[in-house]
């Protein structure tokens, strides 16, 4: 059972990382962000599977953190997008 | 491995030396800008008392002071230990810190807007952080704890460089941060390798290990260059001149006099206490070559500077070089006990006199820059007439840097020269002599400008209170007075260093 769960964990990780590997070469930032999000969910799933395979229930806590913060990094990204239009107008740090 | 450390009566003083300034940082944060300076000055007074008490306890007991934190014995816990060298460093630090405090109080007092504002408040808080880190470097026995101490220094020192908020100093601070972080990282990596090989990070436990694998050599090869980057030894000195020259005068004094001595001290610990004799001898030779290159190259660079503070900063790199040529002169790594040799005493004296002289010089330069509004050496003609005391300060401190009798620097360089002659290190002897001449080459022109009669008199921007000028003068006089000190106190340096010395000499 442990072996099969680890195998499936590997499969999930590879499946979600494959997208990233290909998208990172493209030029569209949003798609890279989407791939990172996918890796976040896939990583959480991987951790859950590993936790079950190695009898480490605490790994679920790590998975919990990953899903909690995945939206956070997405928000950080949008922020950078949102900032650009007002770039010229905003007196952010005049010297 | 059991109870390698037994706490000594005055051990708690070591905790106070580290925690007092750290607690001051917290108090300043809570009490706010208006009371920051009061807290700082009170802490400086208390810290001076603590340093004095540590010194007295060392003399009284004749053994190193030890404290085991939380009573958890190493290797699981962390021990603090102050031998003669550590106590000397603690004392020099306390003196320079106190002088800097008095100087900074009046310097920032000149401009009421900055006194309780961003510049003043940040300065005092960072100064306290710096002091805590310095004291920890001198007393900690645990390599990871020392990493934390190095980071305390980094985080306190870097913002000090760019307090004036100009683009140039921002770039200097960023470059300093890059070098300092790289240094800490390499140091940490080495510590990790040592833990993997020995299962402890306690300096004495590692030193007592009988077998050394490749981990030791590689760890030293990572840690020493990392620390050299922080100590700004040639050729890793590029960050120092702009950083030290750009900081406010009070900050430059501490940075140049004390902060770069911390990594030097750690290198000494690593080479003399941890490294097996073979590696220590190789490391000592390499360090001496770099030290000599530092003396020659950076003295010449100092000669060519057009700005006073930059010249003093280059002189710092040159003077640091002397500390590294001590390694082969003291016979580190060839089986003799280095602690008793005259080169060892000379190195300690050089360290002390440079700390005092360089702090005095930066303060004097700061007064001149404050009074005249710039520090271009060419346009400083006749600055000796305006605020009266900086030129003599500069002169006295210069005596010590050049190694002209009577001064602390003279005795130091004389001892090193003798050691080089006895040991047959001709090239080192020549370097020491050349370094002295070159130092004369950059100190005399400044004195010449001070006494010159300019075509048109210098315009003074603001009056300078005499009290402000007195602090650096006292430091410079102290640096010279070290030369009159009987060398006996430096025998204290051997306290707490019996492990190796006893093994060799009966």
């Amino acid at each position: 059972m442990a072996e099969s769960l680890t195998l499936i964990a590997l499969f999930v990780l590879l499946a979600s990382a494959a997208g990233l590997a290909i998208v990172l070469r493209s030029h569209i930032a949003i798609e890279k962000l989407m791939a990172v999000q996918l890796l976040g969910t896939g990583g959480a799933a991987t951790l859950l599977l590993l936790g079950a395979a190695t009898a480490q229930p605490a790994l679920a806590d790590v998975a919990l953190l990953l899903v909690l913060l995945s939206a956070f990094s997405c928000a950080a990204f949008t922020l950078g997008e949102g900032e650009s239009p007002e770039a010229a107008a905003k007196p952010d740090e005049p010297s | 491995m059991t109870s390698a450390y037994a706490a000594t009566p005055g051990g708690l003083l070591l905790v106070l030396a580290v925690m007092l300034p750290a607690a001051a940082v917290l108090a300043m944060l809570v009490l706010g800008p208006r009371r920051t300076r009061v807290v700082a000055l009170a802490t400086l007074a208390l810290g001076l008392v603590v340093a004095l008490a540590i010194g007295l306890e060392l003399v009284r007991s004749g053994t190193a002071l030890i404290y085991v934190l939380g009573n958890w014995q190493p290797p699981l816990g962390i021990a603090l230990r102050a031998d003669g060298l550590s106590v000397m460093m603690l004392a020099v630090t306390a003196v320079v810190m106190a002088a800097t405090g008095l100087f900074a109080r009046d310097l920032f007092g000149l401009d009421l807007a900055t006194a309780d504002g961003r510049l003043g408040t940040s300065f005092w808080t960072l100064l306290m952080g710096l002091w805590s880190g310095l004291n920890l470097v001198f007393v900690s026995q645990d390599l990871f704890n020392l990493y934390v101490a190095l980071e305390l220094l980094t985080f306190a020192a870097v913002p000090l460089v760019c307090l004036d908020g100009r683009g140039e100093t921002m770039a200097a601070a960023l470059r300093y941060l890059m070098f300092a972080l790289l240094g800490s990282m390499l140091y940490l990596l080495g510590a990790g390798l040592l833990y993997g090989a020995y299962g402890t990070l306690d300096i004495r436990l590692i030193a007592s290990a009988s077998q050394h694998g490749p981990a030791m050599a590689i760890a030293l090869a990572l840690m020493i260059p990392g620390l050299l980057a922080k100590a700004a030894l040639f050729p890793l000195h590029l960050w120092l001149p702009p950083a030290h020259a750009g900081a406010p005068a009070a900050a430059s004094a501490v940075l140049s006099a004390l902060v770069i001595k911390a990594p030097v001290f750690l290198i000494l610990r690593l080479v003399a206490d941890i490294a097996p004799p073979g590696s220590a001898a190789v490391a000592g030779q390499v360090l001496a070559v770099l030290g000599a290159a530092s003396i020659l190259f950076c003295s010449i660079m100092a000669l060519r500077q057009e700005r006073l503070k930059l010249m003093i900063a280059y002189s710092t790199v040159a003077q640091i070089g002397y500390l590294f040529i001590v390694f082969p002169l003291a016979g580190v790594g060839d089986g003799t006990a280095p602690w008793g040799t005259i080169a060892w005493t000379g190195g300690a004296l050089q360290l002390t006199s440079h700390a005092l002289a360089k702090a005095a010089m930066f303060m004097a330069a700061g007064i001149v820059a404050e009074a005249v509004g710039h520090d271009r050496i060419r346009d400083l003609g006749g600055f000796g007439r305006a605020p009266p005391l900086p030129p003599p300060t500069f002169g006295w401190a210069g005596l010590s840097l050049m190694g002209i009798p009577p001064s602390g620097g003279f005795i130091a360089k004389c001892l090193l020269l003798t050691a080089a002659a006895i040991g047959g290190h001709l090239w080192l002897a020549l370097t020491i002599l050349a370094g002295g001449l070159l130092a004369g080459g950059y100190v005399f022109p400044v004195m010449d400008r001070a006494l010159a009669t300019p075509a048109e008199p210098l315009l003074l921007r603001k009056p300078i209170p005499l009290r402000l000028e007195l602090v650096p003068l006292v430091l410079a006089v102290l640096a010279v007075a070290l030369g009159f000190l009987p060398l006996a106190p430096f025998g204290l340096l051997q306290i707490g260093r019996p492990d190796i010395a006893l093994a060799v000499s009966p």
Partner: protein, 113 residues
Amino acid sequence: MSAIALTSASLFGLCGAALVGIGLFCILTHPDLLRRIIGFNILGAGIFLVFGAVARRGAAMGLSGDPVPQAMVITGIVVAFAATALAIALLRRLASLTGSATLEAATPPRSET
């Protein structure tokens, strides 16, 4: 089991070694300061992985690893984050003041008060 654990620890130790090299290269050569700061984080990750390998090898007494290096890594990660934050604050200020995000050439200041 122990043989596998050993190999796995060494594997991550080797990964740490590789990351140290990559991070160092980035710090030494990349002209973009922001990328250098990321390089510091990669270097830090490599160093911490070496600590992690050391910790994993020290598994004993029913613990899955030596807790001392693990605790050091936690301290180290937080310090590294603080360093990143300070470096970025400096970099942002430098960019605002001089219009340049590099230390390569001393560009003349664009505007100063």
